[in-house]
């Protein structure tokens, strides 16, 4: 049986590894992109591992497939239900008003847009406005890891699926792109936070932390990946997060 990483496409082949996927510890992560075990999907076309030891794995994998199918069905019926009432969904005015944090991102996005068009002065001005909003944004009341983890979870469970469905019915492939990228990045963010809560700083001590400057994918390791597993840009597009206390 083969398992495919939904973030980067890495294939875990049980036959080659000599170890069932299910048998891997929960702390195991994708060797290429660092995704957690639950980001892997069973490859429906691959043959189950033969032999007595593997039969359990195959049976489990089978039930996985069933579960997957169910999920797909659910997602589908939700889409249909949604398509029916999407137009009537009410968004209150507060929702539409941009917060300072949102305005910061909006303006730094426009700064990037200017930079791409070689408009250096305009880029600097948008950056100035973005920084103004960053520094004046009122503090979020719950500044803790649990709250952060809950927000990631919400994005993954409802934020991205809802936006993707809406973009799909509007034939808006640009928005579908940011859903595909953003969902993967959020998945990694959430995995890293869970890893921190489980292992503390052990996995960060002798490793660098890199951020893809295009899509936000975070990678922990000595050198950045050759190409970003999410948006496919080359390694020089990764920025290293500097240590707080340089040695």
């Amino acid at each position: 049986m083969k398992y495919i990483c939904t973030i980067c496409g890495y294939i875990y082949d049980e036959a080659k590894e000599g170890r069932t996927f299910k048998g891997l510890p929960d702390s195991w992560v994708c060797p290429v992109c660092g995704a957690a075990k639950n980001a892997f999907k069973a490859d429906e076309n691959s043959k189950p591992l033969s032999g007595a030891e593997a039969s359990g794995a195959a049976a489990e994998a089978g039930s996985d497939l069933e579960a997957d199918k169910k999920n797909t069905d659910n997602a589908f019926s939700e889409t249909m239900a949604h398509a029916g009432n999407g137009a009537e969904e009410e968004f209150d005015e507060d929702m539409k008003k941009l917060s300072a944090g949102e305005l910061a991102a909006l303006c730094s996005n426009l700064a990037r847009g200017c930079e791409k068009q070689y408009m250096a002065r305009e880029a600097a001005l948008f950056k100035e406005i973005a920084d103004y909003f960053s520094t004046t944004a009122p503090a979020v009341p719950e500044t803790d890891i649990e709250h952060l983890a809950a927000l990631f979870k919400k994005d993954l469970e409802s934020g991205y699926p809802e936006l993707f469905n809406e973009a799909d019915s509007a034939l808006d492939r640009g928005t579908k792109r940011i859903c595909v990228w953003g969902e993967k990045v959020t998945n990694i963010q959430s995995t890293l936070l869970a890893r921190w809560e489980r292992e503390g700083d052990a996995f960060l001590k002798n490793a660098e932390v890199w951020v893809c400057s295009v899509c936000g994918f975070i990678y922990v390791g000595n050198t950045p990946p050759e190409i970003c597993p999410v948006c496919k840009v080359p390694s020089w597009k990764f920025d290293k997060i500097e240590r707080r206390y340089p040695a």
């Binding site: 991102a105 103004y132 909003f133 934020g159 792109r177 997060i241």
Partner: protein, 165 residues
């Protein structure tokens, strides 16, 4: 549509063919950035460059793609969350002593911002030249969020940008 040449400094290998072919000398500058005021948009430099380092960019861009109202509404739900995620991560990174935690939180804040910028880009703010951008800048000027708002920056942007809608 009128075009102008732009050189990607990262790709430029200094083969200098663009210097030979340019009829106006626009490609020959002390900072390697092509002089737009001299460029007549003939495209000869781009055709000659062996490194594919020059692109011809329209000086007037078409209006950005229209976005469905509902797509924007759902995008706003995400941008609200992403902004909060960035803020929480950056607040924690400012408080912690542990270097691993500090770097993880700094990375999460940076990452959340990048993801948020991308959603903004796809929900009505792709082009700095758009009507949406113009209206946003005007709104901020008419009703500044607070006394410290950089009014001059907004004014200069409204003056500099060639809005296209």
């Amino acid at each position: 549509m009128k075009k102008a040449a732009f050189r990607n400094l990262r790709l430029c290998t200094k083969d200098c063919l663009c210097l030979y072919v340019c009829p106006t000398g626009a490609t020959d500058t002390e900072d390697s950035i092509i002089d737009v005021s001299k460029c007549i948009g003939c495209g000869d430099c781009a055709a000659a460059c062996p490194s594919g380092a020059i692109s011809m960019l329209s000086t007037e861009l078409p209006p950005q793609q229209k976005k469905a109202e509902n797509v924007i509404s759902y995008a706003r739900k995400l941008t609200k969350n992403k902004a909060d995620e960035e803020q929480i991560a950056s607040a924690i990174s400012g408080m912690v002593i542990n270097d691993g935690m500090y770097r993880l939180m700094t990375a999460l804040a940076k990452s959340a911002r990048l993801v948020n910028e991308d959603i903004m880009r796809e929900s009505g703010y792709m082009l700095p030249q758009s009507k949406n951008t113009k209206e946003l800048l005007e709104d901020l000027l008419n009703d500044p969020p607070a006394a410290g708002f950089p009014v001059d920056a907004a004014k200069e942007l409204l003056r500099l940008i060639k809005f296209n809608e």
